[in-house]
């Protein structure tokens, strides 16, 4: 299975990417572990996660085609 990871603001800056395609990541906890392994500074950032534009609050199973957004605190307005 394939998922798309979107990164915004400070996270896009840290990872140098706004979008990544990843394979075989079964849930959001595993995604966070993967991202923190690739970019250790992610451990110091506060961020929330949306799966297919819906904010999640706990570990969520992922399926093929899902879009997951890693979002630092909002600062619009």
């Amino acid at each position: 299975m394939t998922i798309t990871v979107l990164m915004f603001g400070r996270i896009a800056e840290l990872t140098g990417a706004q979008r990544q395609t990843l394979h075989d990541i079964p849930d959001t906890n595993r995604l966070q572990q993967h991202v923190t392994q690739m970019y250790p500074d992610m451990a110091n950032l506060t961020y929330s996660i949306a799966v297919n534009t819906v904010m999640i609050r706990e570990n969520t199973a992922l399926t093929d085609g899902d879009t997951i957004a890693l979002m630092p605190p909002f600062s619009g307005g």
């Binding site: 979107l6 915004f8 603001g9 400070r10 896009a12 800056e13 949306a50 534009t53 957004a69 979002m71 630092p72 605190p73 909002f74 600062s75 619009g76 307005g77």
Partner: protein
């Protein structure tokens, strides 16, 4: 929900001009059931942070999610307050200090509804809209804005 309001485009490239705001106000003169308008404008401040001056803010957004958030705010505000009209605009891209990046506009028969709805919408946008501001300093460096 008794009414359905179509999804409208909230994002505007660059600053929101005062003339655009004046035109939006003028368009409501045919809606003679309106007695009160409330408008909120967010303007970019030239804050000094660690001795550096903010020259502009560059806004980025998760537009797909933002469209849904703005739509939910719109529907829930109409359900909560008896409004005649409501409009929301948010800048995307670079907005210089002194320019306007947020424009919220509510209209109702009586003043309390427009006033309260406007505050309600602004607070929800600040808390829920997936938008990020990158503060660009005059010296070319930057930081990431934090909402208070």
């Amino acid at each position: 929900m008794s009414k359905e309001h179509k999804k409208k485009n909230v994002f505007i490239q660059g600053a929101i001009s005062p003339a655009f705001i004046g035109d939006s106000i003028a368009k409501h003169s045919t809606k003679t059931e309106i007695g009160a308008h409330s408008i909120f404008l967010g303007q970019v401040r030239n804050d000094i942070l660690d001795g550096k001056e903010v020259a502009a803010i560059e806004y980025t957004a998760y537009t797909e999610m933002a469209d849904e958030v703005f739509h939910a705010i719109r529907e829930e505000t109409f359900a909560k307050y008896p409004l005649t009209c409501m409009h929301m605009y948010h800048s995307i891209g670079v907005v210089a200090a002194g320019e306007i990046s947020l424009f919220v506009f509510t209209s109702s028969r009586h003043r309390a509804d427009a006033l309260e709805a406007c505050t309600y919408i602004v607070n929800r946008i600040k808390a829920e809209a997936p938008v990020w501001g990158k503060e660009l300093f005059t010296d070319g460096s930057h930081t990431w804005k934090a909402n208070t």
